[in-house]
């Protein structure tokens, strides 16, 4: 069966806008807030979120990118060591409210690793989580504060997020097992 598009470009845009509003609402403005996107694609989303917040509130939030590869719990289990990406957080996270941004929330292990990585980098006042898609099937007690869309899936399905910055188009797609990865 061909892949099903569950979010198109317009829907992604609206979701980002809504999350931006929610972040500002929950934190009573932009003060003390920073966005940290989880590589890869979480950082592109974080940058979009920052642009939206600036458009809405006029405030420019610091944006960083966090690679969690070294904190994964499956190192040594997969055939090859997992691919590494850049970490760049040019600001101090101590005492800030850090909003982690990722594209898909699934088992929760990526977020668990991100929490451990962040805590090694400093002591934020609070950590919140924003995701574009929550596809369920948590294996750890992790929940998102801001969700673009809840999408029920089977565990054997693949959820693929395409972003213009990386993939040339904006779309969220669900694929059958054995479909293109």
């Amino acid at each position: 069966m061909s892949p099903a598009t569950i979010l198109d470009e317009a829907e992604i845009r609206r979701a980002v806008t809504r999350i931006a509003h929610e972040v500002l609402e929950r934190n009573h403005g932009a003060g003390g807030v920073a966005l940290v996107g989880i590589a890869a694609r979480g950082d592109d989303l974080a940058r979009r979120l920052a642009l939206e917040i600036e458009r809405i509130e006029g405030a420019s939030l610091p944006v960083g990118v966090l690679d969690i590869t070294f904190y994964r719990d499956d190192i040594g289990i997969r055939a090859e060591a997992p691919e590494v990406h850049e970490t760049r957080i040019d600001f101090d996270i101590n005492d800030r409210t850090v909003v982690l941004v990722d594209d898909v929330l699934f088992t929760g292990r990526t977020i668990r690793a991100a929490l451990d990585a962040l805590v090694d980098l400093g002591r934020p006042r609070a950590i919140q989580l924003a995701v574009l898609v929550d596809r369920g099937h948590r294996e750890l007690p992790i929940r998102a504060d801001y969700v673009g869309k809840n999408v029920p899936t089977r565990t054997d399905e693949q959820v693929r997020v395409c972003l213009k910055e990386v993939d040339g188009e904006d779309a969220v797609v669900v694929e059958e097992p054995g479909g293109s990865a």
Binding site: F70, I75, G76, R78, E86
Partner: protein
């Protein structure tokens, strides 16, 4: 990637790019307050150093510890190694202790390969005899790429006792693999007779080569070699091939001076020259930790091979 890193020939050009790219992230870890990540938590890395080398051993030790691995040091003094236990028995002992990786430095060419017969974990060659020193070559490539932005077409001269230098061998092979232009320079008695097959150029005239370089890589010249009559005296070597204050002016603007250490100030390099800003030996040391972290991560971060037919 291969399970072991015994020689530069074990890694392809793509592997090298991956190793260098991964090292970027580890260099960033080195700038954090907590210079540690849990990636290799619970793993055991053994440093088996039959040759004295504080700098390289510490570099590997730090690399392993920053990956949260447990580190055991077997060095030549004060352990069973000094008491004359054979390499094989030492290896079997490490095996029994559950070493995931063994980093070995040995004065016999080929010792790391021999070790792979007796240990199940990954073996990393930290320098064997006059054969290879692949991690040094990789950290040198990283330093060059970091400063210049590329390796392809980079003009590098390796100056000194090439014949006995495992660093020169690994580095030459690595640079040629990545498309750089390499020239070996030194007294003819210290240039390997098979250099023509390495894909490099050879010159005996250091002043002719210097003006056309991006990287001037100097090798340590041991007094031992003078005793063995490869050249008449340290004085003559320094006159003909040393990077003196006068000669340094021949290097083009923006070029870099490198040395794997330790330096013989006044022999292959004048003391003043070693302290110039274009001499990047300190960066090489810093990058050494990041590269070794990258190697340990890539070698141990994948699934360990199924246990083969073993004792």
């Amino acid at each position: 990637m291969n399970k072991h890193l015994l020689s530069i020939h074990d890694v392809s050009a793509d592997d090298i790019v991956r190793i260098l790219d991964t090292a970027e992230s580890f260099r960033e870890v080195g700038t954090r307050v907590i210079k540690k990540v849990p990636a290799l938590r619970g793993r055991t890395v053994v440093n088996l150093f039959y040759e004295n080398s504080t700098r390289t051993r510490i570099s590997f030790e730090l690399a392993a510890k920053r990956l949260s691995a447990d580190v055991i040091n077997f060095t030549t003094s004060g352990t069973s190694v000094a008491k004359g236990e054979s390499l094989k028995d030492t290896a079997l002992t490490l095996q029994a202790m559950g070493a995931d990786a063994v980093v070995i430095r040995h004065s016999s060419s080929g010792a790391p390969l021999t070790l792979t017969k007796w240990v199940r974990g990954s073996v990393l060659n930290a320098g064997d005899g006059t054969h290879e020193h692949p991690t040094q070559a990789l950290l040198d490539l990283y330093t060059m790429r970091d400063r210049v932005g590329r390796l392809e077409g980079l003009r590098v001269a390796i100056i000194g006792d090439v014949l006995h230098s495992r660093v020169a061998r690994s580095l030459s092979f690595a640079l040629v693999k990545m498309g750089a232009d390499v020239t070996l320079v030194g007294p003819p008695t210290l240039i390997p007779p098979d250099a023509a097959s390495w894909g490099v150029a050879v010159s005996y005239d250091v002043e002719e080569v210097l003006p056309k370089l991006d990287v001037c890589y100097l090798l340590r010249v041991q007094r031992e070699r003078q005793r063995q009559q490869y050249f008449p005296s340290v004085r003559e070597y320094a006159r003909l091939f040393g990077l003196t204050r006068d000669r340094v002016g021949l290097l083009p603007e923006g070029s870099m001076i490198m040395h794997p250490g330790p330096m013989n100030r006044g022999v292959e390099i004048d003391s003043d020259v070693a302290d110039l800003p274009q001499a990047v030996m300190e960066e090489q040391v810093t990058n050494g930790i990041a590269i070794r972290m990258s190697l340990l991560y890539l070698l141990l971060g994948g699934r360990a091979e199924e246990v083969g037919a073993d004792a």
